[in-house]
Symmetry: C2
Subunit: 172 residues, 2 copies
Amino acid sequence: MTSGDTSHPSPATEPVGFETHDHAGCIASALAAADAHCQREGLRFTPVRRQALEILLQEHRAIGAYEMLDRLRDAGFGSQPPVAYRALEFLVAHGFAHKIERLNAFIACAHPGAEHSPAFMICRLCQSVAEAQSTPSRGALGDAARAAGFQIERTVVEAEGLCPSCAEKADA
Amino acid sequence: MTSGDTSHPSPATEPVGFETHDHAGCIASALAAADAHCQREGLRFTPVRRQALEILLQEHRAIGAYEMLDRLRDAGFGSQPPVAYRALEFLVAHGFAHKIERLNAFIACAHPGAEHSPAFMICRLCQSVAEAQSTPSRGALGDAARAAGFQIERTVVEAEGLCPSCAEKADA
DNA sequence: AACTCCATGTGATTTTATAACGTTACGCGT
DNA sequence: ACGCGTAACGTTATAAAATCACATGGAGTT
């Protein structure tokens, strides 16, 4: 991930995962948005929770609960698993982060604030993760659910494969 | 693809999971199919592997590795985790079973033999699981992947919600 | 101040998964 | 049939992921 760019032409509508972008800016704005959202909703955006989100945003990749725990401990918070799990649970519950089931890991939401069913593209070589949108009600799964009378409440959509840059290397 | 699989637009409308069916028959035929497939491919369908598949077929629901281990031990096989994990790994690798990431559990494939990208509907109340087809290349995810230059190799598609019968109970 | 609610911190445990290693069984060429 | 190489099996041990249970403490309310 290069870190030279400062201009971010279009906000949060595309696959924000395999491209370079304004890191400091996205962290700051995401934290601000989370702040505002919690204010509005009467949620307590406590120090651990804020720190956890900041860690996810800084990494900009999926990190496991125990890696998060290490970071939180380094930042002066508790050192037992529930510390990390509770912070992550909060972030996920309110849409600030997502769990990548396939990796047992967590990543900051790339489309904060928006109601959405996320879909992820996971590179099996470099482990990078990009978030896109899925449309559960459309497509084969939606058809099957309607046909079966199944009420979808939540979806996990994760694609594993090669990101552009790893695919290029693999070709060579 | 199988010989019988036509490429019509909506292959996903046989939800084989929330309906009653000929249990003994489906077990026998699935085992026979697996036998044949292994024969053809030169795979070793050993006793543990066969027993593991039979267990999955009998249950007809997602079961965890340690539950599988219990059953295998009861059947006279080894009693340590790798026994179960290896059998399951074989079954998954060759398409006889799938892992439900959301549940950390495994289920027999409902469309044995066919090349497919499975999608699952998981009832959050009764834990039943139905398998349908997904069409990774179509839909929002496929679009996003193409746009990003991501090469999809495998997809995890899992919907969580209410199965028909639990939805009915919940309504009442 | 007393109360309640929720968040935090900690120790302990459960559940899920893999590493490492020796032994056995099979597949195959001779 | 014999020996060879590989894959499968079994076991011990350990790692990784997640949860339980309980005590403490702070923010807001009454």
